[in-house]
């Protein structure tokens, strides 16, 4: 057996059919000719010799054919077997390498798995939230239409505008309006509050989804004298009817009429027949649906065109696009503006129009940008991981030059060596994708734990088969990317020869080192880039944490309460609430109690135009956010009164009308005067002529979010100027925790009115935490990505340094032997790496500054170019990276010159 024959056979070219036939012929020919020569030499005649050969060989042609066929068969199966065996041997070699170097293997797998895990998690979110259609047939045709002011996003709509579009639309196949109301139904002995959606005729047709049980609304249900009907949500059906089929035909009897948020009863009906139950997967924004017919006659009031409490959804005709609809709504708005100029121009209404967005956009809303941003961050992390892994594999390839050279000498071609290296890399990436999927499953749990409560469609987000396929595909792609460099190194002509010839590896190492340095520099730049983003988000979070909400949130509890049964008149509204807080105030442990329709940080306000003394009335009066609050409001919420007094029990209907303004209002309206004693009027609502005296100046509050800049606020005693809303908040200051108060609260309120539902208490601290949830979420997500990125890149620098030093041990030894000081050697060794780090940092900072606008929407009160953040990130990262670079360099200077010189 010739030396290396086994190897050569493994790498032999595959044989064509013609080649096989030729070989058989050659073999037989050799045999026959040799025999003939031999017989001739023995003295036979040519004819005798031929006869003798014929006798031995038999039918030569038949033999040839038979042998060729046999050999071809053997060849085919052996070619398959060769490939199989080759692959199996590659895999075996690869696995053996893994076992031999568990440290390297686990590091490489972990590196790539981190990138893949992060990307796969965010991929799942992007796919399920942003890309997957809504759960309605042909949901891409669904649109949401509403009024816009000054180019905002459509939110609510007025009934007349809806009716106008409904009558004229050419682009919508079906179009419906709906509005929400609350309804109190007794469940057993307890009154409970439910959400009702009053919908026009085509509502369910727009979505293309009907009840799972029973029937949808019919045209008859919308007639004036129709008997009232209701459709249940799946949730309510399960909870209140126990999923009983008998629910159809049963009665729903609310204790009061349903009320809309703008204080009007929705209908005069007190009992409804259940006709249907919606399917479980119908995204439920309401507990009940009832039919409502809009005619336009019920809007013949003052605020015919201003009362935007409706919403509207439509289904585009097939083949038409959102752009067609938007064109139509713009034309409609223009023609309405001609008919009713007073509602489409001037002051508050300036720039009013009608616009439409896709229902998906409406659902996903503001989270699209931040989700894509996080996906991008995960992608960058993956990129860093790939660069890191490529560096690791490169180092490995250098280490294995010897092995590859031997394989080459034994007959393994370049392709064969490439296959071996790629197989190993692929094995590595497959392991990584498995680990990455595991990380994505864990990451998804963390994501859901941290995600904002309002994050859309969080219930359907999951790491599914597609996401897993994505992870595997990603891993294979990364494997290919990472595998190319080591293949190039391990397979260069020189490397197959030189290691065996001795240590002439300088030039080749240089090329590899250049590639590796580029990879490390890229990692540093990307890590800085990510870290700047994370730094900005962290700074943003910290500055939000530091925001003074204007109230003392500790021990502050809030109870939403339905006042719909008491909002007929201001007197009954105020009477009910005063009696309620009197009784609640008597509960042991309650320090102070009041009411307000719109507590700070909960949003919601009444914005009457305000006229102050000396201000001409015909001037465009500024609309100021005004709150009609109960007595003891300020001490209960912990809003400081800077001067004067707060609102007291004595500020009733018989007393002198008073208001408290906040400091923002005070400085805005009376910048150089004493606001106390100044008078103002709150226009509208039939009481616009009353003058109110300013009796106190309160601290500023954030009335809807921590991020927003405080605006002027006016507080008027509810007992003097109530807005009789169908709901209010009882605000309570008490050191008791919510569940300790629940029982006594119910008892106290039900002694005033046993039909009032008592919902669960909320805490102001909970409300503030909810506000911090979004920024915390973004900070934690991007922060963990960027810290991982830093870790990877620092590891990359460390690895590069070790390799660079290993290559220069001899040089270091010589320099030390020639008397070079420690610092000079240190500089020589770490110089390249230091420039690399500084260069990467500069590129990263430049990249971050250039694309900082991406973060703009997520930052409040922090500039996306915030210099301290950039500085801190740069210094922190450069410091850490230099440490990773200098530590091995410093160790190198400790090498004994003699050892270093002998080392080679």
């Amino acid at each position: 057996m010739s030396a290396g024959g086994g190897w050569k056979r493994l790498f032999r070219l595959t044989e064509s059919a013609k080649h096989v036939r030729d070989q058989v012929d050659d073999e037989l020919l050799f045999h026959v000719e040799t025999l003939l020569e031999r017989y001739l030499a023995e003295g036979m005649t040519e004819e005798e010799a031929w006869l003798e050969v014929r006798r031995q060989v038999g039918d030569l042609d038949h033999l040839r054919a038979e042998m060729a066929a046999q050999k071809a068969r053997a060849n085919r199966s052996s070619r398959r077997r060769l490939f199989r065996d080759g692959l199996r041997s590659d895999v075996r070699v690869g696995l053996r390498q893994f076992r031999k170097r568990p440290g390297f293997t686990s590091l490489a797998v972990l590196t790539l798995a981190l990138g893949i895990g992060a990307s796969t998690t965010l991929f799942s979110v992007v796919k399920d939230v942003l890309l997957d259609p809504l759960p309605y047939p042909e949901s891409d045709r669904l649109v949401y239409v509403g009024s816009v002011l000054r180019g905002g996003v459509p939110s609510v709509f007025t009934a007349p505008e809806f009716l106008a579009l409904h009558a004229s639309t050419q682009t919508l196949e079906s179009y419906a309006a709906y509005r929400y109301a609350t309804m109190i139904v007794r469940v057993g002995a307890r009154p409970e509050q439910f959400r009702v959606a009053a919908v026009t005729e085509d509502y369910f047709a727009v979505y293309g989804v009907g009840p799972a049980l029973g029937r949808a609304f019919q045209p008859d249900d919308y007639r004036g004298n129709a008997s009232p009907v209701v459709i249940l949500s799946h949730g309510v059906w399960q909870e209140r009817w126990g999923g009983d089929l008998e629910a159809i035909g049963s009665m729903v009897a609310p204790v009061d009429r349903p009320w809309t948020p703008d204080q009007s009863p929705l209908t005069e009906q007190f009992s409804y027949v259940v006709v249907g139950v919606m399917p479980a997967d119908f995204p439920s924004t309401a507990d009940f649906w009832i039919p409502e017919r809009l005619t336009g006659t019920e809007f013949a009031s003052d605020d015919y065109f201003t009362n935007g409490t409706h919403r509207s959804v439509g289904r585009l005709r097939s083949g038409l696009s959102l752009a067609d609809l938007r064109e139509e709504t713009a034309v409609l708005a223009a023609s309405l503006a001609v008919e009713h100029p007073e509602y489409y121009s001037g002051g508050y209404f300036e720039g009013r129009s009608i616009d439409a967005i896709s229902l998906l956009d409406r659902t996903v809303g503001g989270y699209r940008g931040s989700t894509l941003l996080m996906f991008g961050a995960a992608g960058l992390l993956l990129l860093i991981a790939v660069a890191n892994l490529a560096g690791l594999l490169l180092a490995r390839a250098l280490d294995r030059n010897q092995e590859m050279a031997i394989r080459g000498a034994l007959g393994a071609g370049r392709g064969r060596v490439a296959r071996l290296i790629l197989t190993e890399t692929m094995l590595l990436t497959l392991l990584s994708s498995a680990a990455g999927i595991a990380m994505a499953l864990g990451g998804m749990r963390i994501f859901k734990l941290l995600a904002p409560l309002a994050f859309p469609r969080l219930d359907v987000v999951a790491v599914d088969v597609w996401a897993m396929a994505f992870a595997v595909a990603l891993a294979l792609l990364c494997g290919l990317l990472c595998g190319i460099a080591p293949v190039a190194v391990g397979n260069s002509k020189r490397s197959l020869v030189s290691p065996l010839q001795g240590s002439s590896r300088g030039g080749e190492r240089k090329g590899t080192a250049r590639l590796w340095k580029a990879l490390v520099g890229t990692q540093v730049a990307l890590a800085v880039y990510l870290l700047v983003g994370a730094g900005l988000l962290a700074h943003n979070y910290r500055s939000l944490l530091a925001v003074d909400p204007g109230v003392e949130s500790e021990d502050l509890l809030l109870l939403p309460i339905s006042t719909s049964a008491h909002s007929d008149t201001e007197e009954s509204y105020v009477g009910f609430l005063s009696e309620t807080i009197r009784r609640v105030g008597a509960i042991p442990g309650v320090e102070s109690v009041s009411w307000t329709p719109d507590p700070p940080l909960y949003g919601g306000w009444w914005i009457p135009p305000v006229v102050t003394e000396g201000m001409a009335e015909d001037v465009e009066s500024p609309s100021i956010r005004t709150h009609a609050v109960g007595p003891d409001f300020f001490p209960t919420l912990g809003i400081p009164i800077h001067r004067g007094r707060g609102i007291e029990w004595t500020d009733n209907a018989d007393a002198e009308p008073v208001v408290v303004v906040d400091e923002v209002m005070a400085t805005r309206f009376w910048p150089n005067e004493d606001p106390l004693g100044k008078r103002l009027r709150l226009l509208g609502g039939g009481k616009g002529e009353t003058w109110y005296s300013v009796v106190g100046i309160a601290g500023r509050v954030h009335e809807s979010t921590l991020a927003q800049v405080p605006t002027p606020q006016v507080y008027v005693p509810s007992m003097q100027r109530a807005q009789a809303y169908p709901g209010a908040w009882i605000v309570i200051r008490s050191p008791l925790v919510a569940h300790e108060l629940a029982q006594p609260l119910e008892a106290a309120i039900w002694r005033v009115d046993s039909n009032v539902p008592v919902r669960s208490l909320e805490t102001m601290e909970g409300r503030i935490a909810r506000d911090l949830r979004d920024p915390r979420f973004h900070m934690v997500m991007v922060g963990s990505f960027s810290l991982t990125a830093v870790l990877l890149s620092v590891a990359g620098i460390y690895g590069l340094m070790l390799c660079l030093i290993a290559a220069r041990t001899r040089e270091i030894g010589i320099r030390s032997a020639l008397g070079a000081g420690t610092s000079s050697v240190l500089w020589t060794v770490s110089r390249q790496c230091t420039w690399l780090i500084l260069g990467g940092c500069i590129v990263g900072v430049g990249l971050a500054a250039g694309t900082s606008r991406l973060l703009e929407g997520l930052l409040f009160g922090v500039s996306p170019l915030d210099p301290p953040t950039y500085l801190a990130v740069s210094v922190g990262l450069v410091g850490t990276a230099l440490l990773a670079c200098l530590l091995p360099a410093w160790r190198a200077t400790r090498i004994e010159p003699t050892i270093a010189l002998r080392g080679e």
């Binding site: 010739s2 050799f30 045999h31 000719e33 025999l35 060989v57 038999g58 038979e66």
Partner: protein, 116 residues
């Protein structure tokens, strides 16, 4: 002198080929024929078709490997040699064969004793 065609007993030829190659190293087809005839002093005559079928079969099973080389007569010939697997297989079949032969000759010699 009886002349036996080796292929008449199935499997014998394979055994003989493997054995020859172990003893002689690598040989081409004709070389194997020559060795066999020489060793058996002409009592074994090899059918060429059977020989090449056997060679190719053994190669297919990985017991042999072949390589084109220049013969001593300066001609290109296909040389066969034993693989490690072939070596192992030969040991096994050789043992079996010897057991077989011992068993048969024991029976035959027994028959002769009874007959005598």
């Amino acid at each position: 002198m009886t002349r036996t065609t080796a292929s008449t007993i199935y499997g014998n030829l394979d055994l003989l080929v493997l054995h020859t190659l172990r003893v002689e190293g690598s040989l081409h087809g004709l070389g194997i024929v020559d060795v066999l005839e020489e060793r058996s002093q002409g009592s074994i005559q090899v059918d060429i078709g059977a020989l090449y079928r056997s060679l190719h079969r053994l190669e297919k099973h990985g017991l042999l490997e072949s390589e084109w080389r220049i013969s001593d007569k300066n001609r290109k010939a296909n040389y066969y040699s034993l693989t490690a697997a072939g070596e192992k297989d030969l040991e096994r079949t050789q043992d079996e064969w010897e057991d077989h032969v011992r068993a048969i000759s024991r029976v035959l010699s027994l028959g002769w004793e009874i007959g005598s």
